[in-house]
Subunit: 379 residues, 2 copies
């Protein structure tokens, strides 16, 4: 069996309804991957994440390299087992995104990137080969090649130099795979320059990897720019392979990007927002810390089937957030992840029904009308 | 039906195996009540607390008075419902313990105690009547009378003056009960003076309340002093009514105090310790943050049936505590509460088997041997 299979079951416009089969199991696409940064989707057990409908989660190699260390995770049976028995698939990033965010604390050469740990200042090095070794030790089912994510305002020269090196690094990553490694995805970069994106796509696709991602987007550029780059780049990618957009997870972005042919997403947005009391709903965001919810006996969202909405009122949740009770973060996270995973299920259904464009228009319209109403109520 | 029934099913020495029936249901005694300070047993859902075996939890009136306010809780259907549907019983304290801890921020008169909120400095007043009203609004099944908990080094004059006022306050509390109020417990005070305890016991028992507690213990005095005061006071209490020792919950204290005839306990110790990584086991305490657990694939406790021990290694838990992951606090809390509630189940079994003295000796011996071993390992 190949390390990764991808079947397209239906299409509606450019939106694709697919089925990804990793060595751990089946993932229905378009899919959203909750982020378990340091081996835990914050506040939740693996069983809960699975019950919410997630088939694949993302682990951060940089964080796990630093603490507890990938050797330790390997010794404990790999990340799936270490984290208490995650039965779904795991995609790991290369660690590059975090390392390149360290700015002054890192140095890039052709060999790789050296950096200082944000925890204890220890000098560490990440190379394309080391990134593969680390992800293989973690037991990742989908590995990402080491690349550089240039800042959104990177000039043309910088972006080109980076994408050319990324392509050389991706080749080295492929050579560093071992029989026990999962499937490798290559990453298309090129900043906000469509021609550079095309150049990167060509170089990366030449490697014939089982899947690809679009990196360096959703890093601060205007939303229209992001959508334009995806719109221009997606048609250059092999139709039969999954396309993954890194770091995107706001409801409107998921809807728009599926419409442009993206199959996979990950983002800390739903979980991070949850911990600040901001709930995602079909009618936009709801800030539970707002005083207007103090005596509101309704659930976060009337027709939601998540464990938080089934049992708890907005009034109680608001109280928990005000008192900084641990249960608040957990119930908020359950809701926001359920919402996001359920949105992906609705998206898949709309593609199967071949009415994605209408679904997207209606869902986006409802989100934006809700946001306007909430903004007025919050005055 | 009375607001509270208590049946003694078995006895072994002074240890009693009982059954408490509140208006919400049956609680097997001796029992331990997990503390849900502000309407949540920190990090857990009501369903989880119930699954761990808890039949009754404690709510703190002081905290709930301040935030979200008892009127709001009443409006939302009472504390059981507000917190997401707790199906067991709730005992609430009077708020007095926290108010008297405020030291310079409170003034006591015959009428009651006025104090400033630790949250916003607002001036508030608690009287015996207001404490009853607040607990009735919360929907508490067992209410505690307002009393003063003197410091452990209070002189005789202070302790006597306080217990006499406590008795007058308890009488006023009884008069302030409404038809919809739960059962009222009186509190025996008297500091560390056995004759004052006897005096308080007499005055409080005269009120013929359905249950009593021993207050003002475990407040910093030596353990032997606490046990001596209980040993001397318990025989003065009516045999057919439940006796509750407030603020006690360390395993060795639970074992010793059940041996002296105590039926009910509450304490933040298991839950608070859990959040610092200290796990309770039959062999004493285990500090999960210790480096020696970094590669330890065993569960916290080999034969434990709690959700944390069934799925997670010490190595993973240590990692979660080191990374300050929210899941750490939750899994630790599940273990420590399971341990404590399971200890109470073992205690009840030993009383039924009429071998409590042997059980207690063996359990205490194992705890203390384990503590010595752990202290050596931690070097």
């Amino acid at each position: 069996m190949a390390k990764l299979d991808f079947d397209i079951l239906a299409q509606s416009g450019r939106a694709r309804r697919g089925r990804l089969t990793t060595r751990k199991g089946v993932v229905e696409t378009p899919t959203f991957m909750p982020v378990g940064t340091v081996g835990s989707v914050k506040s939740l057990t693996p069983g809960e994440v699975s019950d919410l409908g997630a088939g694949i989660i993302l682990g951060n190699t940089y964080h796990l390299l630093l603490r507890p260390g990938v050797d330790l995770v390997a010794e404990m049976g790999g990340l799936h087992r270490f984290m208490g028995g995650w039965t779904g698939s795991i995609l790991t990033d290369s660690g590059g995104f975090q390392v390149f965010s360290l700015a002054s604390r890192r140095v890039v050469t052709e060999e790789g990137v050296s950096f200082r740990s944000h925890l204890d200042g220890a000098l560490m090095e990440l190379t394309p080969e080391k990134a593969m070794d680390a992800q293989t030790l973690l037991g990742s089912d989908i590995l990402m090649a080491l690349d550089e994510c240039p800042p959104p305002d990177a000039d043309r020269e910088y972006a080109e130099k980076a994408l050319l090196r990324d392509a050389r690094w991706a080749k080295r990553a492929k050579s560093a795979l071992r029989p026990e490694s999962g499937a490798l995805f290559g990453i298309v970069q090129g900043g906000m320059y469509k021609d550079l994106r095309a150049q990167s796509a060509e170089l990366i696709c030449e490697l014939d990897l089982p899947g690809h991602s679009l990196g360096g987007l959703s890093v601060g550029e205007p939303k229209e720019t992001m959508l334009e780059v995806i719109d221009a780049t997606q048609p250059l990618m092999p139709r039969k392979k999954p396309l993954y957009l890194m770091g995107v997870g706001a409801p409107e972005d998921l809807i728009n990007c599926v419409g442009l042919g993206v199959d996979m997403f990950d983002c800390v947005l739903p979980t991070r927002m949850a911990r600040t009391g901001t709930m995602l709903t079909k009618d936009g965001r709801l800030n539970l810390r707002n005083a207007r919810f103090a005596r509101d006996s309704r659930p976060i969202e009337e027709d939601c089937g998540c464990p938080a909405c089934r049992n708890y009122s907005r009034a109680y949740l608001r109280h928990l957030f005000a008192a900084r009770e641990l249960l608040a973060y957990r119930l908020g996270t359950l809701h926001n992840l359920y919402f996001t995973l359920n949105l992906m299920a609705r998206i898949r259904q709309a593609i199967e029904n071949d009415n994605y464009a209408a679904f997207a228009r209606e869902a986006l319209d409802r989100l934006s009308r809700g946001e306007h109403r909430a903004a007025a109520d919050d005055q």
